[in-house]
């Protein structure tokens, strides 16, 4: 996401994020750090950090934390840019057991630096290795994750125009 100023770049990043999330929950986004370049990443979180209940017969809950950095991209027409620094997207069941989650935390203490998914105990998979496996993936956007939740996990969208919103994002 680009912008003429750092703030504009962050707003251009937040606008589609908020829109896709509004397709599944009215919960607000909380951000920390916000709008300026910094060595440490800024963070955006859905709600207060505890799982948000989703509509639909899949009976699922959603967590999302996204880290981003604001950086100058010299020579480009809109010289400020927002880059993803890490993410954690999760679907949990109503007992708060993780069903499936997508992670990327390339700068944390974990030795697992590549984007990956976890199949959690809420998925009911019996195979022993699954509980600790880091299944490699490409980088996943919030929009891709929520489309997956709607299409494959019976999450009911709150907006009639959800497919337009996702298509535009």
């Amino acid at each position: 996401m680009h912008g003429a100023t750092a703030r504009e770049a962050v707003e251009e990043f937040l606008r589609p994020l908020r829109r896709v999330i509004s397709c599944v929950t009215p919960g607000i986004l909380n951000i920390r750090g916000g709008y300026h370049p910094s060595a440490r990443p800024h963070s955006v979180l859905i709600g207060d950090g505890l799982p948000v209940r989703l509509a639909g017969t899949g009976r699922l809950m959603f967590r999302m934390v996204h880290h981003y950095r604001v950086a100058e991209a010299p020579g480009e027409r809109s010289p400020w840019k927002v880059r993803t620094a890490a993410y954690y997207y999760s679907l949990d069941d109503f007992n708060e057991r993780e069903v499936i989650s997508y992670h990327w935390h390339p700068e944390g203490q974990s030795p697992i630096r590549f984007p990956h998914l976890h199949v959690g105990p809420g998925a009911g998979c019996q195979r022993e290795e699954i509980g600790t496996a880091h299944c490699p993936t490409g980088r996943i956007s919030v929009a891709e994750f929520l489309r997956f939740a709607i299409v494959d996990f019976r999450v009911e969208p709150l907006r009639d125009d959800w497919s337009d919103v996702f298509a535009e994002t």
Binding site: L29, L50, D161, E168
Partner: protein, 70 residues
């Protein structure tokens, strides 16, 4: 066509220092049965590095650390 406008005042909340600490504290208590302060101390001492990298609670709460730090 979805042409809603982002209302930064209504849809996005920039958390204060106290709110950021509360977010970490609530999550640490909820997922790990410890305070946010205890979690931060243990995290900085590297006490989660051996094996607990697979604990989804640790992974998740660690993602909330920036909310509690400037």
């Amino acid at each position: 066509m979805a042409n809603d406008v982002l209302d930064l005042g209504k849809d996005i909340h920039e958390v204060s220092d106290a709110e950021g600490l509360a977010i970490l504290d609530n999550a640490a208590r909820h997922y790990l049965n410890m305070s946010g302060e205890e979690f931060l101390r243990a995290w900085k001492e590297g006490r989660f590095q051996n094996g607990s990298g697979n604990d989804p609670g640790v992974a998740y709460v660690s993602m909330l650390i920036p909310f509690a730090e400037d």
